[in-house]
């Protein structure tokens, strides 16, 4: 029986030092299902998602899609043939162009797909690590954490904090301890970086909105800046997204914002907005700027939550406070400057 004690002479047996990896493989229950709606829940009971899907809609989608593709292929075929009758050189050039467009398009799609797969994979890592830190396992987390570190180091130089982490851990640490140490020593630095990125983008867009005269331009600005921010954050956490991927990420962020509890959002953002009634009194445009800034920083924090391999706990949850202060300070200082110049103008009069 393997449970019974055995003592070996140290020379007589083949030995390897314990690598903190798989001694036992376990199947984790990783529910890949993505939440899209706030589930109806009470006392641990949960209403299941309805499984019914619209067959007709699916059918319509498929047939419509194939129709469009067939039409496109037919049209381009005709177009090239037409051009060939005019001149062989022209026809061939256009055909080559067409092929290169198709290839490049597919290439972009596929690379976007791969990168958004990476985001999905990140989610599975998140689930794995959270299951490790809740159950008392040993020797499984180290491998996952190493993998994550590799992904990080492609985008950010984390060698210093990683070295500190390696120095700190020893073979006696179990999975949840490893995860806590990693969280503190490696991830917290990245969090700082991500918060800095959020602060920068949020302040910039707050200023832009406060200055821009057109409502439609505001919307474009917000879309542009927030998209840039998503890219930066996803890069910081080692799962960079392309334009296509970012669309998916934005969708997830939006869903998360909703799931995170509309109440929380309203309470926090609302208070932040109302509290700045001073700013509102000065100019509604300024208030709008601050509002947009806060919205963008909320988006940023949600993105952090999606990209971060270990979920935030109560202690290290990023707080809006600092970012908000930075935004309002920036805008208010701008207002003061304006006031001064105005006053100077008056004095001159």
């Amino acid at each position: 029986m393997s449970d019974q004690p055995i003592k070996f002479d140290s020379q007589s047996v083949k030995v390897e030092t314990v690598q903190l990896d798989d001694t036992v493989q376990v199947k984790e229950d990783l529910s890949q299902e993505q939440q899209k709606f706030l589930p109806v829940m009470a006392n641990g009971l949960k209403l299941k998602k309805s499984e019914k899907s619209n067959k007709w809609l699916k059918w319509f989608g498929i047939s419509f899609g194939s129709l469009v593709v067939t039409a496109a292929v037919f049209e381009s075929w005709q177009f090239i043939q037409q051009l060939l009758t005019i001149s062989t050189v022209l026809g061939l050039t256009v055909a080559a162009l067409l092929v290169s467009v198709v290839v490049a398009g597919f290439g972009t799609l596929i690379s976007g797909r791969i990168k958004s797969k990476r985001l999905e994979y990140r989610k599975s890592i998140q689930q794995k690590l959270s299951s490790y830190s809740n159950s008392e396992t040993y020797g499984k987390a180290a491998k996952v954490l190493d993998e994550v570190s590799d992904e990080f180091s492609q985008e950010v130089d984390i060698s210093k904090s990683l070295a500190l982490y390696r120095q700190t851990v020893n073979t006696s640490h179990n999975d949840s301890e490893l995860i806590q140490i990693y969280n503190k020593q490696v991830l917290s630095g990245l969090d700082q970086l991500a918060l800095e990125a959020i602060r920068k983008h949020a302040t910039e867009s707050a200023l832009m909105v406060a200055l821009s005269p057109l409502a439609i331009a505001d919307m474009a600005l917000v879309a542009w800046r927030s998209s840039r921010m998503l890219q930066d954050i996803s890069r910081i956490y080692g799962c960079p997204q392309t334009a296509f991927g970012r669309l998916g990420l934005t969708k997830q962020v939006a869903t998360n914002l909703m799931l995170a509890g509309a109440s929380e959002f309203v309470a926090e953002a609302g208070v932040e907005l109302l509290g700045k009634s001073v700013a509102a009194a000065i100019s509604s445009k300024m208030a709008q700027g601050i509002g947009v800034g806060i919205l963008i920083s909320r988006l940023g924090i949600q993105t952090m939550q999606i990209c971060r391999p270990i979920k935030f706990d109560e202690d290290n949850k990023p707080k809006l406070g600092k970012i908000r202060k930075s935004i309002t300070n920036k805008i208010l200082s701008m207002v003061k400057k304006n006031d001064k110049t105005l006053n100077k103008g008056k004095d001159n009069d």
Binding site: S2, Q4, P5, K7, V18, S172, N174, K184
Partner: protein
């Protein structure tokens, strides 16, 4: 309501902020690793600047400015022999086991984190008094609630149980033969000596007997040869002369009132944190009887601190001890993947006592740690399977071995399971250690955090 709550919090904060002394009492039966723990604790604290202590939060936040050993106010207590312990480690020896009480005071200077207290003083310090004493004496604590007759009865009940019953025969014989004769002073002395020998046999036996009471009979300290130790329990079926009983009772009472009581009163009052060290591995080695005996012994000890109305300890300690940490050291003898099982085993063993203490509103935490790590976990190939073992130098014969000690259950075992499952935890020698830096350890940081972590505001 909210204001009231905040006021209460503020008062609590002030209270904790002002209290800059903390008295840590390291309890545990002999051989549970008290001296090694204190040595390692002082070592970790003194070498904190370059130490890896990730779970000591104040340290992880880089708020610890400096640590030093200072002199304490109880000048009559000897100092904990830290230097001797360290030089013992240098010569590959475990520190000498404790034979007398000793104390050490560590002062930690730290940066205040709390934003209100910070305005009053940005830096603060915390004095930690650590008290070490022989674990044998701890077992006298339950004596405080007994008189000579109840003690005799309790003792004889204990002596009839396995595994100690085997060792008791000799003593029973002599008491039977001698008491029938006259009861001169020399006879009493002789019998008391026999009784002491019986206790020493119990202590030295390989069966893992813990409840060796009275403690000073096996480790007299400066009482060696004093007449106060010349008493013994009287079995119920023996009828003694009144004169003799009176004599024995008188000595028992003297022992209880003038030796045990002042000892606990002096050193154990105003203790803030209690660390109870339990040697789980020894019990696993010895099997079911030893397990049950240790379980009962520890329950008696733990609950001595707070049961019943008449308990003087309760009155004295209740407002003071606010945390009990039950810890099992020597985790380095166990492959790391079994640490969680070891923790569950420990907590299952003491679940009743823990429950009672918890009822008194005291925080109880369990932790598995190793004060000085002397082994290394390895994977050994055995019957085509990889077996998580530990590698180290065996204490007995100084040979390097790789040991798979058996699988610790995380659920309580039945008597049958106990008899089927064997364990072989072995003691290891100290390897070559650099003693002028942090000693290798398992989870000392966790223990530090549990003991004093909340004091670093």
């Amino acid at each position: 309501m909210a204001i009231k709550k905040q006021l209460k919090q503020a008062v609590e904060l002030l209270d904790r902020g002002l209290d800059k002394n903390i008295r840590v009492c390291v309890t545990g039966l002999s051989g549970s690793g008290k001296t090694a723990f204190i040595t390692s604790l002082i070592n970790q604290l003194l070498h904190q600047k370059k130490a890896q202590l990730p779970f000591w939060l104040a340290h992880a936040e880089a708020r610890i400015l400096g640590v030093k050993q200072v002199t304490y106010s109880d000048l009559h207590i000897p100092e904990f022999p830290y230097k001797e312990a360290i030089s013992a480690l240098e010569t590959h020896q475990w520190p000498q086991s404790t034979t007398n009480i000793s104390q050490s005071r560590i002062s930690i200077k730290y940066e205040v984190k709390n934003k209100w207290l910070k305005r009053v003083q940005p830096h603060s310090h915390l004095n930690i008094d650590i008290i070490d004493y022989p674990g044998e004496w701890l077992l006298d604590l339950p004596l405080l609630d007994l008189n000579f007759y109840t003690w005799s009865k309790q003792f004889c009940e204990w002596a009839d149980k396995k595994p100690q019953s085997k060792l008791a025969d000799e003593w029973y014989q002599s008491i039977n033969s001698l008491l029938k004769a006259t009861s001169s002073e020399s006879d009493i002395k002789l019998l008391a000596k026999e009784f002491r020998q019986f206790l020493v046999r119990c202590k030295e036996s390989s069966e893992g007997i813990h409840f060796i009471q009275p403690g000073r009979f096996v480790l007299p300290g400066d009482l060696d040869g004093a007449p106060v130790l010349d008493f013994f329990p009287v079995p119920r079926n023996l009828i003694l002369s009144d004169e003799l009983t009176e004599k024995l009772e008188q000595r028992f009472n003297y022992y209880r009132d003038n030796i045990v009581r002042p000892f606990f009163k002096e050193y154990f009052s105003s203790v803030d944190r209690q660390l109870l060290l339990v040697d789980v591995l020894k019990v696993l080695n010895h099997g079911y009887d030893s397990y049950r005996e240790l379980q009962q012994t520890l329950s008696k000890l733990i609950t001595s601190f707070d049961y019943g109305q008449t308990n003087w300890l309760k009155r004295m300690f209740q407002p003071k001890i606010n945390k009990l940490i039950i810890a099992s050291s020597k985790s380095d003898q166990v492959p790391p993947e079994q640490h969680n099982a070891m923790k569950s085993f420990l907590s299952n063993m003491l679940i009743d006592a823990e429950n009672q203490v918890g009822y008194q509103g005291i925080d109880v935490a369990t932790v598995v740690f190793s004060a000085i790590q002397v082994t290394e976990p390895v994977l050994a190939e055995h019957e085509n399977k990889k077996l998580a073992c530990v590698k180290g130098v065996e204490l007995e014969n100084n040979k390097e071995v790789i040991n798979y000690p058996g699988k610790i259950p995380s659920e309580p075992m039945s008597k049958k399971q106990w008899s089927e499952q064997r364990y072989n935890f072995i003691d290891y020698a100290i390897p070559d250690l650099a003693t002028h830096k942090q000693l290798p350890h398992h989870r000392m940081d966790r223990v530090i955090e549990l003991l004093i972590g909340d004091k670093f505001l």
